[in-house]
Symmetry: C2
Subunit: 263 residues, 2 copies
């Protein structure tokens, strides 16, 4: 048995991040969602028990922490429009500095490092929550709030978070686009993309315990120019060819340092 | 209860693929490994019960199927050196045509579509086994042999297999290199790459049920030039910048067809 103070929270924005946060906090013993604000009434259809869904910022009541979960471009704007001062207001963005938040309230960041889709269930348990706050007391509260839904809470500065966001773009946005290209190639030849799914999941699973550099394989790693040329000849799309060429060169240079001058 | 004919198999080559095949067949009720050939005695240290480990091709005994699991460049050579004719000889390569095998024996391919490392355990159960054979009887035998270790056996022609191999390079070799770049960026800023692992595994898990194109997110997808520019300014390595630029352009063009002329 353990004790925790109940932290009251209001979520502003009911998109991918907002709706997942609502679900996550709903299952927590140490945090309680008081209100959910959304500009449009439509998105508030799906009501959760005991939560007050509102459409006007004027209806906001007092809570321990206001979490802004709106698109990056609107964070500053909504923080300026809040009809109160000196309360803890945080955003959930990986790429926006804490300081874009309006200074009339106490600033912080509560960034869950994960990709969210509306229809996909996500278990918050293992998701890193990166927290930041201007004041020490607020940082402590955000750590507790993170611990209410995840076992992985880390203090990360705005500077670090923006670096991390670039790294996240590589492993999420760019990796997903390579999946897409691969599906295009399979479809083009009447092959079932499903055949590649065990390979995709094993490729991700492999680096759970080993460094990506250590487990690199393939024609580029082996400097197998015959296979590389044959592959390039098989690609019919110039954009695919460009990506194949650049990534092959990058792997070759990473793993065969002595060849660097030749490329 | 079900019945199967016991298919006898000899594995030629004891590298990543060979050693994983030995383990997989050892647990099967419908296939039995007779011999394992390896050029070097050293790699035969780890003996499995009931298998005859040999170092000379002259010691090969008769079995239903000989599986060549050596590097691509050596497949033709070893197939020529086999001291018998008119038996079923297959290779396990994704990128080599069936016809490189010497014509004195009956040809086939037994290609497990997965990435193997010596130290990592792999469950063959879900791995697609792509089979091909010059003769119908041999194809039937290879299908049964595949079914002995996997529930996912598909007939794939040499032409299809080479296309599939290019697609596999994108989701395995190239994706792994993006993981590596991401680790480099994290390390450069003293950040723990482990923080990104839940994102990596969720990115792979997401496309189990949905198309990669459908789940694409990020600044490139949104055509968010402000974030793209900020990211590029944060990258200190030119190779990373080039990859960021090319993949961003590819995502933008894929998802914002009307912008194609502008890029």
């Amino acid at each position: 048995m353990y004790f925790c103070f109940m932290i009251t929270v209001t979520i502003l924005g009911y998109g991918n991040v907002g709706s997942h946060l609502v679900k996550a906090f709903t299952g927590s013993a140490c945090a309680k969602i008081s209100q959910v604000y959304s500009r449009s009434a439509v998105s508030l259809n799906k009501k959760h028990d005991g939560i007050d869904y509102i459409n006007s910022l004027r209806d906001l009541t007092q809570v321990d922490c206001y979490i802004i979960a709106v698109p990056d471009d609107h964070i500053q704007d909504i923080s300026e429009k809040l009809p109160f001062t000196n309360r803890l207001v945080v955003h959930t963005s990986g790429s926006v500095l804490m300081d874009v938040l309006d200074s009339k309230n106490r600033k912080g960041v509560f960034y869950p490092l994960q990709t969210f889709s509306k229809d996909t269930e996500v278990s918050f348990h293992k998701i890193p929550i990166c927290v930041e706050a201007a004041q020490t007391n607020d940082l402590e509260l955000l750590k507790k709030l993170g611990a209410a839904i995840s076992e992985n809470v880390t203090e990360i500065s705005s500077q670090e978070r923006t670096k991390m966001h670039v790294a996240a773009v590589f492993v999420n946005n760019f990796v997903n686009h390579l999946y897409h290209i691969s599906e295009e190639i399979m479809n083009e030849h009447g092959l079932d993309f499903t055949l590649l799914k065990p390979l995709i999941s094993e490729t991700a699973a492999k680096i759970e315990t080993r460094s990506p550099k250590e487990v690199q394989t393939g024609p580029a790693k082996r400097d197998d120019q015959q296979t590389i040329t044959r592959h390039l000849n098989q690609l019919t799309d110039n954009r695919q060819k460009d990506i194949y060429t650049l990534l092959t060169k990058a792997i070759l240079e990473t793993h065969n340092k002595t060849n660097e001058g030749k490329l």
